[in-house]
Amino acid sequence: MRTSRIALSTALVAVIAASAVGCTTTDDTETIEVYTPELTISDPWVKAVDDGMTGVFGEFANETDQEVHIIGASTDAAAMVELHETVDGVDGSMMMQEVHGGFTVAPGETLTLEPGGLHLMLMGVVEPILPGDEIAVTLEFAGGATEEFTATAKEYSGANEEYTGDGDEE
């Protein structure tokens, strides 16, 4: 958990943007800890595509003692990002669909985004994402905080689930 210590020796006003606040008292100052949701992100990658849709994957570990709630994501590389899950389609094929409640990561848990499972869905890719490119992605947490990470583009033949949303992508 990223912890910002703000000394409150005088009449300092802290603007608390996050979901929880804890207080401790030291010898001569009172400190207030402002908790910002944060995930430890490892092995982020994105499937290289020329246009249309693609997926972002990786390991998102919650090493804090507070639940982290991802409610959205964005990137300059695509017009829109949705949080997706993969489910069995009625005809036996794998289908993707939006997870409307977002992803929650309990304390000590790791959220794995992977082909065939949960992932960030980029829709309306702006320009070709070439193998080896790096794209910046911003996660949005409940409460308004954000966290940016960089995903490396890899050529990948999987992650071909059909999209069942009502967007304008193919």
Binding site: W45, K154, Y156, G158
Partner: protein
């Protein structure tokens, strides 16, 4: 380059070392005379790590791994041909991807987007080494060393086939487990596919891990002890012979790869003394015909009672010898190949001859010139492939191979 034995337990079938090899049951005593050429420290390492699959060799460092690190049992040499339109930017993306794959694979971790991540869990001493051909350096807009070009034609010996010759990017993956090598190569090539296509692939092997004391000079499939006299990694002689000090290649080296077919059907016609005479060494133990042990120096001056040289002046070692030359030597790191034959042949066999040296022009070509002029062994060997690569230096944990010309 350090070798990191795993913490795995001592294997149950640990070989015994020391003056007297103690063999139990029907086991064969393997502490052959030829191990006498090894430094004592190497022998003491025998199988001490026990289970070998978890062993890793550090990828990062001043030099790339796979040059001065212990030679693994299996290696795959893959040459790629760049697709049109590659430039410094795209090659930078390529080498960042391949470096990331290599650093993960060599530490037993799966690369990003690995479809078979379970196969990465057994590194078995995996090394991945990259080399740049003339086309790569040109596409990167960098200046190539003078020697980075095809070798001179050797019409007296060469029968080069285009399918085994040239290449823009070399990937060498070696490990003591062929499953590990296959997975590593597959992963590296998947990440290369956007940028390049496979020009050729040569798979080679030596004795399996544990069959002999690690570091024993290999035998090629003509039966010859092959690689005697190599400079010992970690010595000043090795450093001077192998590592370049030149510009972006400082800390790197060069690799000449020759695919040398062995004419085993006619070699079969040659009896023991004829074979010894051809090489100038005894097939039995690699000792020069003027000596007793592999480590003995050949005596090119020795003569028979009738006045002839004991070592023929056209024997392989006479022609390949450094004797009387001021130039630095070469370092050989070769592998056997044995692939299915065609037609009526019963074998298609040879050597993936890999020679490392700081300067191809100064060190390699003079030797190759002399061997092409005269060498009894040429009767039974035919170079059918040839390629030259610059091996760039190693990189740190945050760097990538080739960063010296790609950033």
């Amino acid at each position: 380059m350090p070798e990191n034995p795993s913490g795995a337990g001592i294997g149950r079938r640990r070989f015994l070392l020391g003056g007297a090899a103690v063999a139990t049951g029907a086991a064969v005593a393997l502490t052959a005379e030829r191990t006498g050429v090894l430094p004592g420290s190497r022998q003491a390492e025998l199988n001490a790590a026990g289970l070998n699959g978890a062993r890793t060799i550090e990828f990062h460092g001043e030099h790339q791994a796979g040059i001065d690190t212990p030679v693994a049992a299996h290696a795959s040499f893959v040459a790629l041909r760049l697709r049109p339109g590659q430039d410094r930017e795209s090659l930078g993306r390529l080498m960042r991807l391949l470096t990331d794959d290599a650093r993960r694979l060599t530490s037993g971790r799966s690369p990003l987007a690995d479809s078979e991540p379970e196969l990465a869990a057994v590194p078995a001493g995996l090394t991945v080494t990259f080399g740049f051909g003339p086309g790569f350096v040109s596409a990167a807009g960098a200046t190539a060393p003078m020697w980075l070009a095809p070798l001179p034609a050797y019409p007296t010996i060469d029968d080069l086939r285009p399918e085994w010759t040239g290449g823009d990017l070399l990937i060498v993956a070696s490990a003591d487990d062929p499953v590990t090598v296959a997975h590593a190569v597959r992963m590296l090539l998947k990440d290369s596919r956007h940028f390049a296509s496979v020009a050729w692939r040569q798979d080679g092997f030596r004795r399996a891990y544990g069959s002999e004391v690690s570091g024993t000079t290999m035998r090629n499939l003509m039966g010859q002890v092959d690689g005697t006299g190599n400079p010992e990694p970690g010595t000043a002689d090795f450093d001077a012979a192998v590592w370049s000090t030149d510009g972006w290649l400082a800390g790197g080296t060069s690799m000449v790869l020759r695919r040398i077919r062995m004419e085993l059907d006619t070699w079969d016609e040659i009896d023991g003394p004829g074979r010894d005479n051809t090489v100038g060494r005894r097939i039995s133990n690699g000792a020069p015909v003027t000596g007793e042990r592999e480590s003995d120096d050949p005596d090119y001056e020795a003569t028979t009672a009738a006045g002839f040289s004991v070592i023929s002046p056209v024997a392989h070692i006479s022609r390949a010898s450094d004797a009387g030359r001021v130039s630095r030597t070469i370092f050989r790191r070769s592998y056997n190949y044995d692939v299915p034959p065609t037609g009526e042949a019963v074998s298609e066999t040879g050597l993936i001859f890999a020679s490392l040296q700081a300067d191809v022009g100064e060190q390699y070509i003079p030797v190759q010139d002399r061997l092409a002029q005269a060498d009894l062994l040429n009767e039974w060997t035919t170079p059918i492939g040839s390629a030259v690569f610059a091996i760039p230096p190693g990189c740190g944990p945050d760097g990538f191979i080739g960063e010296g010309i790609l950033t």
